[in-house]
């Protein structure tokens, strides 16, 4: 494994250097939990965070994002793009893979969403290998290790970090920082860290894996478990909000007090909410909670698999933690495969 070795002070120099020309977003402590926020100083960063309340998608698809600014009296509109250079620092492998899926979603069908891409193309990703927490199941969905999708990937190695380079931008960052190449023993320490991490992921699919889970879902359409879940699910949409690969949105117009200027905005939406598939005539194509849960779980493990070549669930466990009644994709998959 080729890479560089970064000590704590190297990391500090890196962040301080980046803060001169980038908005630097990193995990910080927020009351009892962690959250990705724009940092003011290096010391805000919590390298030991478990996972964040919201995934880093909020910086690429903000909860409310202006697409157009319009003037009603003139019938004129202009698109609004944000391309602030941003560093997403400290992303765990699951969140890195999730952003790869967002990239796929916002470029597929030859429809390039510049509102997303302009931000994305100005974004550097510096990953950080993680200490698993209670809800992780990344080893079942092929997101336990980051293979690509980052500029730099940091893995704890002794009292420093083994830094793997994933792009030209990453290579330049390391050169500018002037750090020395990691030794074989540093690489070994990083490998050991990853091996230890793998052992700590205990929540797993019993009978299927990242490739075969889609077949399980495909044959479980009429499984009675969907009805059982309907009894528990509150259809609150929390799982959609905290999911790093839920990118569905609604579009709404917002007019200012002069009733002339306004903005067309996209707003996070969720397939678990009752009106999601309802059309103008009043017909609701997924009226029942069981239908919506089945849709969501299929979307994560089956529907998008054909196009994205992978489950889009990345096993971060945020949905389980956010769910009031603890509906859990691992339990669902294991129940379906019984």
């Amino acid at each position: 494994m080729q890479g560089y070795l970064l000590r704590e002070d190297d990391l500090k120099r890196l962040i301080n250097d980046l803060m001169k020309s980038y908005k630097v977003v990193a995990p910080i402590k927020k009351e009892t939990r962690f959250d990705f926020q724009e940092i003011e100083k290096f010391e805000d960063i919590r390298m030991d965070y478990d996972t964040t309340i919201l995934p880093p998608k909020k910086f690429l698809i903000p909860p409310v994002e202006t697409l157009l600014k319009f003037k009603r009296s003139a019938n004129k509109a202009e698109p609004v793009f944000d391309s602030t250079p941003t560093v997403l620092f400290g992303l765990h492998p699951c969140d890195i893979k999730a952003i790869k899926h967002l990239d796929q979603a916002f470029t597929e069908n030859n429809n390039y969403d510049r509102h997303y891409l302009n931000k994305r193309e100005k974004t550097l990703i510096i990953g950080l290998d993680c200490h698993p927490y209670d809800y992780c199941f990344c080893s079942s969905v092929d997101s336990i290790f980051a293979k690509d999708g980052f500029d730099i990937m940091l893995t704890p190695a002794g009292d420093g970090y083994f830094a793997e380079v994933g792009s030209k931008n990453g290579e330049e960052l390391m050169k500018r920082l002037g750090v020395k190449s990691a030794s074989e023993s540093d690489a070994k320490k990083a490998e050991n860290f990853r091996a230890e991490k793998e052992k700590k992921i205990v929540r797993k699919f019993n009978k299927v894996n990242a490739t075969t889970v889609k077949d399980l879902l495909a044959k479980s359409w009429d499984h009675k478990h969907w009805k059982e879940l309907e009894e528990r699910c509150l259809a609150c949409g929390s799982c959609n909000l905290v999911c790093p690969t839920c990118f569905c949105f609604d579009v709404q117009d917002d007019v200012s007090l002069n009733l002339d200027d306004g903005e067309r905005k996209r707003i996070w939406d969720g397939c678990m909410l009752v009106d999601f598939a309802k059309v103008g005539s009043g017909e609701n194509f997924r009226e029942h909670r069981s239908q919506r849960i089945r849709h969501r779980i299929n979307r994560k493990f089956n529907y998008l698999h054909d196009r994205f070549n992978s489950p889009t669930c990345v096993g971060c466990g945020r949905c389980v933690r956010a769910c009031t009644v603890k509906i859990d994709p691992v339990e669902i998959v294991n129940e379906l495969s019984k």
């Binding site: 069908n109 429809n111 193309e121 579009v251 939406d269």
Partner: protein, 282 residues
């Protein structure tokens, strides 16, 4: 990631001017729109547009005119939500609306060439089918297709859309048009009374060379398909246009998804074998 050099928003509409507005029923109105540069919409029958009014919102509307009609396009809009009610009540000839699209696949009419076509329209479902009906009836295209059958049903006698045009279809020797109302509300009505499926046994089509094209309210499809199957219709010759909430039209927002397809990308037109594989489709 593939770089797209154009700084272009998928969500920016172009403006179209309303050039005709006509009331059909209590709820439905007919509109004609033109772009100021006289360009065509360049659509296929069966496609839809996103119609928007700044400050009100955006809604998917199927295109009702044939692409053979140049220089303008027509929509038939039911007032059910904010955008459509605003369009009905607050906008007049001369007003501008935003248009994105055309979106969706449209009907594969190239494959229909040389075939007879059986149109089955329920209520507002006549709006998208009219695009294909008028395409096939256009004098430059008529020779490409065999017999044309049009079955059109409404809830009652007050609900007819495109009434004058339907009469023209009835008067054409090369078209067999059959109408029905679920409930008769006109004492002078001499046509059929009953749901749309009651018209199917009355048509003497040749299943070996007829394509069926269906559009109507969601509840209609299963029963029409069943009736066509009773007449030994081949599944691959049955096409339908499905209604879903196509919020963005560009395969991003997720609202129109049925199983693994986005209706705005792979539809709204599907053949029956495809629909059979989509468990939530009909």
């Amino acid at each position: 990631m593939v770089a797209n050099p154009i700084e272009k928003s998928l969500y920016l509409p172009r403006l179209a001017k309303m050039t005709k507005k006509e009331r059909f029923t209590d709820k439905e109105m007919f509109f004609e729109f033109r772009f100021d540069d006289n360009s065509n919409l360049n659509h296929r029958p069966g496609q839809f547009v996103e119609l928007s009014i700044y400050g009100i919102g955006e809604a998917p509307i199927s295109i009702s005119s044939s692409p053979t009609q140049q220089g303008y396009f027509e929509l038939c809009v039911r007032a059910v939500g904010r955008v459509t009610n605003y369009l009905h009540n607050n906008m007049d000839v001369g007003s501008y609306v935003g248009i994105r699209g055309p979106f969706g696949n449209g009907f594969p009419y190239e494959k229909f060439k040389g075939h007879d076509i059986l149109f089955i329209c329920g209520g507002l479902g006549v709006a998208p089918l009219r695009s294909l009906i008028n395409y096939t009836l256009d004098k430059t295209k008529r020779g490409d297709f065999g017999k044309i059958y049009i079955l059109y049903g409404c809830k009652n006698n007050q609900e007819w859309l495109y009434k004058k045009e339907v009469e023209e279809w009835q008067n054409r020797a090369d078209v067999e048009t059959l109408l029905t109302v679920d409930k008769c509300t006109d004492p002078n009505w001499k046509g059929n009374v009953g749901v749309i499926t009651t018209l199917i046994p009355k048509v003497n089509f040749d299943v070996n060379k007829t394509i069926a094209v269906i559009c109507g309210p969601p509840v209609m499809y299963k029963f029409v398909v069943l009736e066509l199957k009773n007449r030994n219709f081949k599944e691959e010759n049955i096409y339908m246009s499905l209604e879903r909430k196509m919020k963005c039209g560009v395969g991003k927002c997720g609202h129109c998804q049925i199983n693994n397809v986005y209706v705005c990308q792979s539809g709204p037109v599907f053949d029956l074998p495809t629909v059979r594989k989509l468990q939530e489709a009909i």
